[in-house]
């Protein structure tokens, strides 16, 4: 990295100030507030709060409902991460064989995928619509009446499928550029060394994609845990009832709908710890990771 020497000592801080301010206002302050609130019992009707120590944490961790949501979150994240990566990889490999050399076509395709995710989310939700959704119609053809937002399993399936559907384009772009950055000569050397293209994929292409894959793994776990909030919210249609939900959604539900600020804060602190662990894991792996040159 290039070092720039500044003549005055305050100038670098001046340049950094906006960024630091944003991080403080939107991240550190709320985080600190959450940690503080997690040790208090807030009076929902105003009028102060009482210090209760780790009672909020105890309540959360012994709550059957919380454990149930945690379990769902685990399976939800596992399935969403696995399938959105697997499907994207499959599509990227297919696209890559077509796109070798055809640069303009590649850029065109990437553009489409870059715009896709928000639109894809919307389309995904529409697909499961009770009245006009084609997936609901297909299920009806087989004599199954899908009841999104009412039936637990139907709702869970819809949440998982829409979340996968929405994330595939993002993964696709990364995988495709990862594939395209594998030097042509290395592929050709492998072509001479190994007849079977299936074997070639698993012994050369896939390992060379590992850095991209690992990066995407972390991104996808984070996505499944946190960024699927909107999908879950839409599918649930404001009727939490006995519907499946993820931990993040429960934080929102308990805090803003249930007005249990203490419990909700404790839950978000637990999630923060999870993110911290994930980040530490990621940095450890990056340190050990092979840097291909």
């Amino acid at each position: 990295m290039k070092r720039v020497i500044f003549g005055s000592s305050w100038l670098p801080y001046a340049f950094l100030a906006p960024q630091i301010l944003i991080v403080i206002i939107f991240f550190y302050l709320p985080a600190a507030e959450a940690v503080r609130a997690s040790f208090y019992l807030e009076n929902p009707f105003g009028g102060g709060s009482t210090f209760v120590g780790i009672d909020n944490y105890k309540d959360v961790l012994t709550d059957d409902n919380y454990v149930r949501v945690a379990k769902f979150t685990f399976w939800f994240s596992l399935l969403v991460t696995f399938f959105s990566l697997a499907i994207a990889l499959l599509l990227a490999v297919k696209a890559d064989t077509v796109l070798r050399g055809a640069k303009s076509y590649r850029i065109l395709l990437m553009w489409v995928y870059a715009i896709a995710p928000p639109v894809a989310g919307l389309i995904g939700v529409l697909m499961f619509d009770q009245h006009v959704g084609p997936i609901t119609d297909v299920a009806a053809l087989f004599g199954y009446k899908m009841q999104i937002g009412v039936n637990y399993n139907d709702t869970a399936a819809a949440m998982i499928i829409i979340s996968i559907w929405k994330q595939v384009p993002v993964n696709f772009i990364f995988f495709l550029s990862g594939l395209q950055s594998i030097p042509k000569a290395v592929r050709e050397a492998a072509q001479i060394d190994c007849r079977s293209s299936w074997r070639r994929f698993w012994t050369v292409t896939f390992p060379m994609l590992a850095p991209t894959g690992f990066f995407l793994l972390i991104i996808n776990i984070t996505y499944a845990l946190f960024d699927t909030f909107a999908v879950i919210d839409v599918v649930m249609k404001n009727e939490p009832g006995s519907n499946p939900m993820t931990l993040v959604y429960k934080v929102y539900l308990d805090g803003f709908r249930g007005s249990d600020l203490g419990g909700s804060s404790a839950q978000s602190v637990i999630l923060m710890a999870l993110v911290l662990l994930l980040t530490i894991f990621q940095f450890r792996m990056i340190e050990r990771r092979v840097h291909y040159t």
């Binding site: 030097p183 000569a185 290395v186 050709e188 050397a189 492998a190 072509q191 001479i192 060394d193 190994c194 007849r195 079977s196 074997r199 012994t203 050369v204 390992p207 060379m208 590992a210 092979v290 840097h291 291909y292 040159t293």
Partner: protein, 357 residues
């Protein structure tokens, strides 16, 4: 080991443009070291890659041994290729890089280990077997790429400018090693380079390519001594052969109004005269002409003098002891001049009844 036959092979990337390789035929004997040489873009790599199976053959046939391989998968052609940027597998150790092709061919583990160990000791890579490519220098990577080819014990080695990413000193060193290795293994080899010196030193036979067509095939010295065209004359040899516009009147060969050689046996008319730098005679007893010196390159062992005769540039090499003046009187060794058709550039072999006095 096997012979390789390239039979009227053509490659067209698009049906509209000029073919990248046009009707090339070449019979390579068992154990022969063939070098494809020519300027960048002349189709050397394309030709090599068609032998490897990495590029489809538009027209013609490639045979390895007696087997037509046009439709054969690259992995089944029994060839090994060394690429310009080594193309090593970055996630595999040196050992795995070398053994990968053998493993896929289901050779017994012991045999793979034996071959890798042998190749490593030939290439002085023993200490590096458990390193990854990124932990090696350019020269070492180059050796690993060679090792990967050697362990396969293929019918034919294919090299695509394997030394062009190395620095000058290492390049000369590796050049020697490749030559010795090929002698020792006796494997048929096709080697692509744009460096004429590399081509001259390595080849049993040179194939000079120009715009996808063969200009000349021959042993390095034969090509050097009797280039088939002005293209070959100016491409092979350093410094490049001086090419001068001359005219014959049937008895004398003139540059401008200076007689430079006998024109006996030549049809009257314009002709291109080619002379190698070492084939000029300095201060001849008779028949000399004047050359204006424009600049001198000192090479230590000798010097290269660049100058002009009648406004046409030429280069000669002289001993470093020779006193330098602004004007040199020179003549051309009549046995060693080359004549080319002024319009087609093809070599003319004049009937030389009398040597110049």
């Amino acid at each position: 080991m096997a012979s390789v036959t390239i039979d009227h092979v053509t490659k067209e990337y698009s049906t509209s443009g000029r073919p990248a390789v046009s009707d090339v035929s070449l019979a390579i004997a068992e154990g022969e070291f063939i070098v494809l040489v020519g300027p960048s873009g002349c189709g050397k790599s394309t030709l090599l890659r068609m032998v490897a199976g990495l590029e489809k053959i538009t027209d013609g046939e490639v045979r390895i041994g007696d087997r037509r391989v046009n439709e054969v998968d690259p992995a089944d052609r029994d060839i090994a290729m060394v690429f310009q940027n080594y193309a090593l597998y970055p996630h595999m150790t040196v050992r795995k890089n070398m053994g990968y092709g053998l493993k896929n061919r289901r050779l017994p583990k012991a045999e793979i280990e034996k071959r890798v160990a042998e190749a490593a000791s030939i290439l002085q890579l023993d200490e590096y077997l458990d390193r990854r490519p990124r932990e090696l220098s350019g020269g070492q990577r180059q050796r690993v790429a060679m090792g990967r080819a050697i362990v396969r014990e293929p019918a034919c080695f294919l090299f695509d400018e394997p030394l062009s990413n190395l620095d000058a000193k290492l390049r000369v060193e590796m050049r020697g090693e490749i030559k010795q290795l090929q002698r020792r293994l006796g494997t048929t080899s096709i080697y692509v380079t744009h460096d004429q010196l590399e081509a001259m030193t390595l080849a049993d036979r040179l194939v000079v390519l120009n715009k996808g067509e063969v200009e000349q095939i021959g042993a390095p010295l034969d090509v050097y001594r009797s280039p088939a065209s002005t293209f070959v004359a100016s491409f092979i040899g350093s410094p490049a052969m001086s090419l001068l516009n001359a005219a014959s009147d049937g008895s004398a060969l003139r540059i401008g109004d200076v007689v430079v050689a006998s024109g006996a046996g030549l049809a009257a008319g314009p002709v291109t005269l080619g002379v190698r730098a070492e084939d000029f005679i300095l201060a001849p007893t008779s028949g000399g002409f004047a050359m204006q010196v424009s600049y001198v390159e000192e090479l230590g062992a000798g010097r290269l003098v660049h100058g002009a005769v009648q406004g046409q540039m030429l280069t000669l090499s002289i001993s470093a002891d020779h006193p330098m003046t602004d004007e040199l009187i020179i003549a051309i060794d009549p046995a060693r001049l080359h004549l080319f058709d002024a319009s087609s550039g093809k070599r003319i072999t004049p009937r030389r009844e009398t040597a110049e006095a």
